[in-house]
Each structure stands twice: as C-alpha cells, then as structure tokens.
C-alpha cells in the first residue's frame, strides 16, 4: 500500500493530480488539470464525450505520460495494489470457461507468476467480495453469459478485492437504464464509505451521481474545475471553463447545463431525466 509518511494525518490525499497537460494528435486534450481526492470520498468526473475523461484516467493509471504535471497516489509512490480499475469497454466471450468467481479471484493476484494455490483464506475473500457486491446469485455462472450490469458488478468486485485506495470506474453508467444506474451508484457509495475506498467515477451525465457525490471534477475543453457540486456547478464557473456563456438550471432537483444564446455549436446540453413521479433517492 502507501509508502512514505504524509504530512497530514487522516485527511491525507489519496489522489493528487497536479497541472496535468496532455496533447494527443495535435490537440490539447487536458490543459493544466489539478484536483485531489481524499480517502473514502466519492468523486464524479463529469464531462461530455471527448472531454478527456478517459485520457485523464489513463494518466492516473500510468498508461499515458502527460506532457507536464504529476499524479500521486496515496501521498507517495504508487504500488500495484493501490488502484482498482473498471474499464468502460470489456468484451467477455460467452463461451469462455470462467465463472464470475474466478474472475474476481484473478483480481487478488492476477499479475503474479505461477499457478494460484487453493487456500481457504483466498476463497473466503472472494466470497466476501461476492457478497459485498450482491453477486451471489450469478457468481458461479459463465461470466460471459451474464447481463451487462451483472458483469459490471463482477468487475467491480475484481477491482476491489485487492483493497485498493482508489477505485476508478470509466463511464460505468453509460449503458445502464435509470434503475440499474441508481443501483450501481448506491452500491459504489456504500463501498466508498464502508471500505474507505476513494471512488472516482467518470460520467457524461451528472444527475444520477448528485445524491452521493462528495465532490465533482468538471471537465470541459480540456480544463477542469473541482470542488463540491454547489461550488462547481454554477454558471460563472462553468462559463469560465467552457469559454462561453452557459446557464445552469435546476429542475425538480435535477441539474441542466445549457449553452447560452448564440453559441450553439458547442452546446453542452445534459438531458435531465424528467419523470412524472419524482424518483426516490436513498
């Protein structure tokens, strides 16, 4: 886990991104992005498609070297088990001989050489994880035959079982219906507080996350603003980010970000899921 002793005590930063700039294919994808996350915090990385969310994740994971800036995990140098990652796209062959349980077990030691030894402790940890994500009903089925939502839960367990400090999820809500999205958000929020894992989840739609987000990192045009939702999701802040005027409207407890008049080609419209009956949020 973490190595050097940090200056602060309990509220030390799990993740500190400082001044990260990335240029890809002649375009500045990330421009001097800075924010930090503390242990157990639930953070939403919000931005439209192409705003740089996946790139930022890749930088954090060490898969992409930034032009400038740094990323620190756990106040010191990264070690393998510090980050859990649930990718956006994964294709699991339906015929593959692998149960959800096996995939979760790979999360424990998938990078170690040699054949895993069966041990009671290993099995208990895997079972514990299966219970934690409510996957008991399908953990022993072929993982490739599960529904998208079920596979996602297996992958969350797979990422969590190594007890990382930080859990990254790349657009986990993208293809889910509203109900499933709320389910996953509740699950993640519970995990964040119960297991003291910082959760960073990227999304292009912030509304499902509003009830549980401790802080938001809003990404637009490669630039980021971070803070609580009240601090960040405001017209002045977002207009500054986008470089043109945007309005922030609140409808039935939902947030709607609309481009100002005369700047429609960069319209940032997040469609509020307005429903006839208000949905209960726990």
């Amino acid at each position: 886990m973490s190595t050097e002793a940090p200056a602060a005590a309990e509220t030390r930063e799990t993740l500190a991104v400082e001044g990260v700039t990335v240029r890809l294919g002649g375009r500045t994808v990330l421009d001097d992005v800075s924010f930090s996350i503390r242990a157990g915090e639930f953070t939403g990385l919000i931005g439209s498609n192409g705003a740089g969310k996946t790139t930022l994740f890749r930088v954090i994971l060490g898969l992409q070297t930034p032009l400038s800036g740094s990323v620190r995990v756990g106040g010191g140098r990264r070690s393998r088990g510090d980050l859990g990652y649930v990718p956006q796209k994964f294709l699991l062959d339906p015929d593959m001989p692998l149960r959800g349980r096996d995939l979760i077990a790979l999360g424990l030691d998938g990078e170690r050489l040699g054949i895993p030894l069966r041990s009671r402790e290993r099995r208990a940890r895997v079972q514990g994880m299966i219970d934690a994500v409510d996957a008991k009903a399908f953990a022993d089925e072929r993982v490739g035959r599960l529904s998208g939502g079920e596979q996602q839960r297996i992958l969350i367990a797979h990422a969590l079982i190594s007890r990382p400090q930080l859990l990254l999820l790349d657009e986990p809500l993208a293809n889910l219906d509203l109900r499933s999205a709320q389910e996953v958000v509740r699950l993640l929020s519970r995990i964040a507080s119960d297991q003291r894992v910082a959760v960073l989840i990227s999304a292009h739609e912030m509304n499902p996350l509003l009830p549980v987000m401790d802080r938001i990192v809003y990404l637009a045009a490669g630039r980021a603003a971070s803070g609580t939702a009240e601090e960040v999701v405001r017209s002045e802040v977002l207009s500054d980010l986008y470089g043109h005027h945007v309005d922030v409207l609140r409808v039935h407890g939902r947030v709607l970000v609309v481009a100002g008049a005369g700047h429609d080609e960069h319209a940032e419209v997040e469609h509020a899921d307005i429903q006839s009956a208000p949905v209960e949020i726990v």
Binding site: L61, G62, L63, R80, L83, Y85, V86, P87, K89, F90, L92, D93, D95, M96, P97, L98, R99, D102, L103, L106, D109, G110, E111, R112, L113, G114, I115, P116, D131, A132, D134, A137, F138, D140, E141, R142, S147, G149, E150, L155, H158, A159, R179, S180, Q182, E183, R190, D194, E280, V282
Partner: protein, 283 residues
C-alpha cells in the same frame, strides 16, 4: 502397433497432445486460431532448410517458428493483425517452396513434414522433445495468471502492469516453442487442429479454467492416440485423422452447448428487484 519403433511415436504423440491441449486453451481464449495455424506452417520452411543444409530438423523448425512469431508480432504492431499473420505465413511458405526446389529429395520429404509421419521419430529426438515440452509447460504454468488476466481483460491487466504487447509477443513465442516440438508426428499443416479443436470442445463442458485445460489435454490425448492407431492401421496420414477428429470434437462441444441452452429453462431475470430501493444492506 506398440513394438519397437512405434514406441517413440506413442511417446512423442503423448507429449504433442499434452502441450497442444494446454497451449490450445489460450489459443482459443485469445481467439488466435489464425496464429496457431500460421506459425506451424511457417516453420515448415525451416524444416526444408534444415534438411537442405543437413542439420537437425528441430533446429530448422525452431528458428523458423520463432521467426514467424516475431514476424507476426512486429508486423501487427501498426498494421491489421490478420493481414500481418497472412503475409508472414505466405512468405514463410514461399521460402519453403524455394528451399524445397533446391533439394533433391522432394515429395516424400514435404509430405511427411506437412502431414505427419508415424514412423519418422528417431530415438535421439526424444530427449530434446521432452526437454522442450517441459520448458513449454513450465512457462505456461508460470505465466498462467497474467496470461489469463490479460487475455480476458486487457485494459485492467494493463493497469496492473501487464502490458498487452508484451503478453502478445510472449504468447506468440510460446506457440512457436510448442510448435517446434509437436510438429514431427502430426505435421505442420494440421498441428493447429489439436490447438483449437480440443480446447473449443472442453470449454463447452466446464465453466472453470483449470478444468477446461485438463479436459482440453485429455481430449487432445484421445485424438492423437486415435490418429496414431488409425494411421498405423490404414497407412493414411496422421494429419488427416487429427484434422477430422478434432473437427468432430468441436462439433460435439457445440452440440452440447446448443442442447443445454435450449433444454434448461431460462432463469428468472435477475436485474434490479424494485424492492431494493430504500433498503440498506448489511454486509
């Protein structure tokens, strides 16, 4: 059938099946059927070259299968993977054609190279074959977890420090190594059938990876033994039997999968039960 010179054939056949079945699990997992076909066929040129210069065939097989693996690995870095495989393969085969045209002994030689030969195993081939096989299996055991994880979730594996390109190259070289020792009895043209038929069948019958590997090896053993026995009796080439029986094992697996999916009642849809809203869980 079990006397004298046939003993060698049985021993090598067993080794071939074990290695082929084990590696085949990953070949099918990674969807690398074309590669499994291309590398052994590419090694054919090496065998032709070796007999031309007069050195041990295994050396030629080894050098050219590694060359094929590297060729595919390098070409596919920035080009289409299937095109890289195809062009590497045909170039190696073209070289094989060239070397063959240089040598005086033509047809019988290539025939047994391509399609296998029950009687061709000399005793001094046994030791290197067993050694290489042990190496291959040890490598597989060592790389089992990272290879499994990277094959299933390349992005997550990458985040854990397992680079996909490295894994791919390593896997190609492993297939090359397996090829080198398994070609003699079955032939370059059809050894790949052992690497895709048995594992494809095995995966239909079990959901656990370790069981699938064991089953794949078992099926490969049955196929190879049957092929040797039948080839001995009928004089027809070993490769023919391997290709055809492997296809039958694949068909059996698919039939089983099909039958099972349509026989069992569909389980109730497990998506979010509405009652969950508002209930807090205790872990």
């Amino acid at each position: 059938m079990f006397s004298g010179f046939m003993v060698n054939a049985w021993i090598v056949a067993t080794i071939v099946a074990v290695v082929g079945g084990a590696i085949g699990f990953f070949v099918v997992l990674r969807g690398s059927a074309f590669v499994a076909h291309a590398i052994p066929n590419g090694s054919f040129a090496g065998a032709a070259a070796a007999s031309l210069i007069g050195i041990n065939t295994i050396i030629g097989l080894g050098v050219f299968s590694v060359a094929s693996a590297l060729g595919i690995g390098l070409l596919s870095r920035r080009g289409r993977y299937d095109v890289a495989t195809a062009l590497t393969l045909v170039f190696m085969l073209g070289l094989g054609a060239l070397f063959l045209s240089f040598s005086v002994e033509y047809a019988p030689e290539i025939y047994s190279l391509l399609f296998g030969e029950v009687l061709g195993i000399s005793t001094n081939q046994l030791a290197p074959t067993i050694t290489l096989a042990a190496l291959c299996l040890a490598a597989l055991a060592l790389l089992y977890r990272p290879l499994l994880l990277s094959s299933i979730l390349p992005d997550s594996a990458h985040a854990r420090g397992i680079a996909p390109h490295t894994v791919e190259l390593g896997f190609l070289l492993l297939v090359a190594l397996a090829t080198t020792m398994t070609v003699p009895v079955v032939g370059t043209a059809l050894i790949f059938s052992l690497m895709i038929g048995p594992p494809a069948a095995a995966r239909a019958f079990t959901t656990r990876p370790t069981t699938a590997i064991a089953l794949s090896i078992a099926i490969a053993l049955l196929i190879t033994w049957a092929a040797i026995a039948l080839s001995y009796q009928t004089n027809w080439p070993v490769g023919f039997y391997v290709g055809v029986i492997s296809a039958m094992s694949y068909a059996a697996g698919r039939t089983w999968t099909y039958a099972r999916r349509h026989r069992t009642a569909r389980p109730p849809v497990r998506s979010t039960p509405p009652a969950l809203a508002g209930i807090t869980h205790n872990d």
